[in-house]
Every structure is written in C-alpha cells, then in structure tokens.
C-alpha cells in the first residue's frame, strides 16, 4: 500500500503514544503503511527525521512539530518534493500545510484556570508546576492559565511557580519542597499529568488535601480523577488526533485536492472532572 510518514516530537510520553496508536489503528483500517519516527523532543533530530522520510518517498507527511518555527525548513523541503504536509497537535509557523489538526493549549490553560477559579470561589493560593522551560506546551499552557487568572480571577494568586520538567519524579520532589515552604496552598495546576501525579504523591505523603489539576488526561490521571484523588485534568484526545490525521492523509492519497489555505481541524478539548467528589 501507500506509505505515510509520521514524525512525532516524542514517544517518551503516554500522550504521544496514544496519538501514535490512534494513527496506527486508522492506518491499518485504511490499509496503508505508516512509518513512525520519534524525534526524542529534539528539534534537530526532527528535521533529520523528516529529511529521511522525504528520502523514503512517503506520499503524505504527518508532522507533530517539536517546535513550530524550527520545523518550517523541513516542511518547505517536503513542499519542494511535492509531498503534502499535515501538522498534528502543534502548528508550523510557515511552509505549505494542508491541514492542521490540534487542540489549543492556550485554551486548555484557560480551562484549567477557570475550573480552579470556580472551585476556590475566586479567592485562594495556587501552585503552578511548569513544563520544560522553553517548550511551546509549557509556554502556551502557562500563558492561558495565567492570562485567565489575571483577567477574570484576580483573587486567585500563584504563590509558587516552579519547573518540574514534565517529569513525574521531579513533580514529586519539587512539590515536596514547595510544601515545606507554603503553609497555605488551595490548588495546584501542573502543565501535564505526569507532574500532577508526582505532586499528588507528595501531597498525599504530607497528609494534606489539595486539589490538583493536570493536563492531557492520561489513563493514570483519569483513574486518579475517578478516585477523587485528582480534581481534574484537561483532556486532549490524542488518539483522535492521530486518527483524524491519517484519515485526512488517506483522502489526499485517494486524490482529494489539498486546500489552498491550511485548514484547521479542531479536536475537542474537555475537562475531565468527577462531580461525585467533594473538593
């Protein structure tokens, strides 16, 4: 069958594993071959990966950019080779892209802020656990979260903002440290579920009860929400993204004309909460 390339920013994260699985399933159903490459969160490796996919003559290129700007030259190279490009999860800031399939991280950050604001009735102290400094996910989620608080919910203040690099173990130890310094914490927002679950572990060990809001809705996190351990997580639907991307690619292979302007295909974002819990 036809070959489609998928360049992922990382597979070291359940979110992208789910995205890959969604894509693989869709590919199997459509009877095409999907070549998946993992850039290990490195912009330069992604460029090399895409170049290799072009050498491999893939029919459509699916890209989950490690960084929006950095991926542009590689996309341009694909354009030159006449390979249509679809971006997933994160947009590219240039080049010719047929479709962009994503949920909006800034919107997700706002969603989390809104939830916490309502939970605290507009007054309280929150801790923000940031992702790897300089990554777009950390940037966008933080931006949405803080912008919402500033505009709509000035009574809720961020009393500690520390990075835990999207990592569960660091989420644990950074939260332990913050718990030493902050007597009053009313809620925690983590830029991803890994950090949220780490923080949760620290909070449990300290014997306190603090609502934690994560991001990504990984299976572990959803389980924690169901068990009333975590307050909420912002659900993206990575498997859906993967599925949409492959379906669009199949359409292009079957002869559909690529839109002249990049067409945005939103994947719904939702807040996973558990109304039975008492926060």
């Amino acid at each position: 069958g036809a070959v489609v390339g998928l360049s992922l920013s990382t597979l070291n994260n359940p979110f992208f594993v789910a995205l890959r699985d969604g894509a693989l399933q869709a590919a199997q159903k459509a009877g095409i071959q999907l070549v998946v490459l993992d850039a290990q969160d490195r912009v330069d490796k992604q460029v090399a990966d895409i170049e290799d996919l072009i050498q491999r003559r893939v029919r459509v290129l699916l890209v989950n950019p490690t960084d929006s700007a950095a991926v542009v030259p590689a996309i341009q190279r694909a354009n030159q080779a006449g390979i249509p490009v679809i971006t997933v999860d994160r947009a590219a800031s240039g080049g010719k892209v047929a479709y962009h399939i994503a949920s909006d991280n800034v919107a997700g950050g706002r969603m989390a802020a809104e939830f916490i604001c309502n939970l605290l009735k507009g007054r309280g102290k929150v801790v923000e656990l940031e992702g790897i400094p300089g990554t777009s996910a950390a940037r966008d989620r933080g931006q949405g979260f803080n912008a919402y608080l500033k505009e709509k919910c000035p009574g809720v203040t961020v009393v500690a903002r520390q990075t835990a690099n999207f990592d569960r173990a660091q989420g644990l130890s950074v939260m332990e440290n913050i718990l030493q310094a902050q007597r009053d914490i009313d809620a925690v927002f983590a830029h991803n579920d890994e950090m949220a679950l780490g923080a949760l572990q620290a909070i449990k060990a300290s014997g306190r009860k603090i609502p934690v809001v994560g991001f990504d809705a990984t299976p572990d996190a959803v389980k924690a929400v169901e068990a009333c351990e975590m307050a909420a997580t912002v659900a993206q639907q990575p498997a859906e993204m993967g599925r949409f991307a492959v379906e669009k690619a199949v359409e292009l292979i079957r002869g559909a004309k690529a839109p002249a302007q990049t067409q945005f295909i939103p994947v719904p974002l939702k807040l996973v909460t558990n109304p039975r819990c008492n926060w």
């Binding site: 359940p14 009393v159 569960r168 173990a169 440290n177 030493q180 310094a181 060990a205 389980k223």
Partner: protein
C-alpha cells in the same frame, strides 16, 4: 570520639564540609522553612536516589571507568519489577528479579569493557540507549501502575520514624564505604584506577574486578529503581532520564577524580547532599525556573572554589 575527628586537618581535608556548611547557613538565613526537621528529612529523602546511583558510579569511576547507563537501567529494573509484580509474581521476588536484571546487564557491560577492551564511555552510552529501548518495548511506552503494598512501603514507608528510602541510602552508603575501605576488592579498585599496568603486574585480577564494578553500579541502579518506583507509586518508562549526569556530578563534586583512583563513599554522599540542598533551597525560595539554572551552575562552581581554598591553606 566524633569530636576528636573535627580537628583542623579533618576540616581542611574535607573542604566540602565547609562548602555545605556555608550553603546551609545562607539558606537558613534566607528561608525560615529550610532548617526545620521535616525539611531536612525531606532533603534526605529526595537525595536518596541520586546518592545511591552516585555511590555505584563512584565504584566504577574509581577503577577508571564510567557508567552512563544507570538511568536507563533504573527504568528497566523498575519496569521489570513492577511488571512482574502486576503479572502476579510475589512482590519480593519481582523486586529481586528487577535488581537481578540490572546487575546482569551491568555484568554484560563489564564484560565488554574488561574482556573486549571497549571504552567504558561508549559501552555504557550504548547501554543507555539500548536499555531505554528495552524499557519502552517492555512497557510499550506506558507507565505501570497499581503496584502492591511492598513497593509503596519501599518508597514511602518509615521505619522508626526514618523514611525507608533514606534508610536504604544510608545502608548502601555504609556498604560502599565498607567495600572501598576494608576489603581487598575495594583496594584493587583504587589500584586499577591509579595505575592499571602496575596493578596487573602486582597480580591484581584486573578484568574480574572491572566486571564487578559495573555489576555494583547495576545493583545501585536496581536499588534506586525500587525506591523510585515506590515513591512514584508506578514504574515510568522515562524514569531516570539524565540521572547519569547527576550521579557523576555528585561523585565529582564529592572529590572523586574522573581519572580514577581517587574518591570516597562519604565524599560522594556529601556531593549528593550539596546538590540536593541546592535544589531544595531554590524551590523553597521560589527562584524562577530560568534563574534557577544560572544559580545552580554558579553555586556549584563556588562550592568547589571554597573547597579548593580551604584545602590549599
């Protein structure tokens, strides 16, 4: 007894004790939360994993090698132990097998270094890569959760008020100290690191001892894996990424020479403490992420300069 040891020569030799002292003093002044019993215990608990890895690393570095694979070994050992336990094996057996896998892969790397004569850096870098791959294959890139009680106890339990991870670290510190200071094999490690040729001519069984060093580092990785798995209440396929640099840093800050032949278990422990105190202090002071990086680099260099100055006198 203890007091008698605090003579000037002792303090001069351990310039790092000064560096740590200054750091603690400054942090106590800056943050009221720092010098509290609960925070000190907290620091020890956080330091435990890096300290255990760094002690294993010290053994390898002493003999003139290096082990970059510890982070990946940790992930693999944790995943194996957790996976087997979930699959129904008795938790203790599963833990033992996890550690066993780490030791076995340490031995494998040791064989490649000692008998095939490959450079330790490359062998263990290949290990870093390949073992991570194995972990991802084994877990299919997903965390393993729902672990039975004994795991949680290892990570979060206490014995006589002391957290189990701290206990494990202290025991491993004593074991390593004993190995290095009182046993023939410990001495051989120093000899090989100091002058491999002279050691060989003295009848030191060089190759087996090299293999042992990597096996010991594997043991450390396995032990650290159990502690981390317990602390996180799950085995993460990405656990331990970058831990190798932290472990080497602790050893080297603690006075271990990367050229081999020089270093102690206590020095490494001190090195791990300095790094741990620094991380904790900056969190307590809520230093922003970007500036934390700068501060961390600067403080570590300053600590070593203090060490130099004290020792030079």
């Amino acid at each position: 007894m203890l007091w008698a040891r605090l003579r000037p020569e002792f303090l001069a030799r351990y310039g790092l004790v000064w560096a740590l002292g200054i750091l603690v003093l400054v942090l106590s002044l800056l943050s009221p939360y720092f010098l509290t019993p609960s925070n000190l215990l907290n620091i020890l608990r956080q330091v435990s994993i890096n300290a255990i890895l760094a002690l294993g690393m010290t053994v390898v570095i002493l003999k003139g090698g290096i082990d970059l694979s510890v982070g990946s070994l940790l992930a693999l050992a944790g995943a194996m132990a957790a996976g087997l336990a979930i699959a129904g094996l008795s938790p203790v057996l599963a833990m033992g097998l996890g550690i066993g896998v780490a030791i076995a892969l340490g031995v494998l790397q040791g064989l490649l270094v000692a008998y095939a004569g490959l450079p330790p850096f490359i062998v263990t870098l290949a290990g870093l890569t390949a073992f991570r791959g194995l972990t991802l294959v084994y877990t299919d890139g997903r965390p393993i959760t729902g672990l039975p009680e004994p795991f949680l106890f290892l990570g979060n339990g206490t014995v006589l008020g002391m957290p189990v991870p701290v206990m494990a670290m202290l025991l491993f510190l004593l074991l390593t100290h004993f190995l290095l200071r009182y046993t023939a094999w410990g001495r051989y490690l120093y000899a090989i690191g100091g002058n491999e040729e002279a050691a060989r001519l003295s009848g030191v069984p060089v190759a087996p001892i090299k293999v042992f060093a990597y096996a010991y580092s594997g043991l450390a990785a396995g032990l650290a894996a159990l502690v981390l798995t317990g602390r996180l209440n799950s085995a993460q396929p990405t656990a331990g990424t970058g831990f190798e640099l932290d472990a080497i840093a602790a050893a080297v800050v603690g006075g271990t020479s990367l050229a081999g032949g020089r270093g102690t278990a206590w020095g490494t422990f001190l090195g791990a403490l300095i790094i741990g105190v620094l991380n904790n202090g900056m969190n307590l002071l809520n230093v922003s992420a970007f500036y934390q990086l700068i501060a961390k680099g600067v403080v570590i260099v300053l600590a070593l300069l203090v060490d130099r100055l004290v020792r030079r006198r």
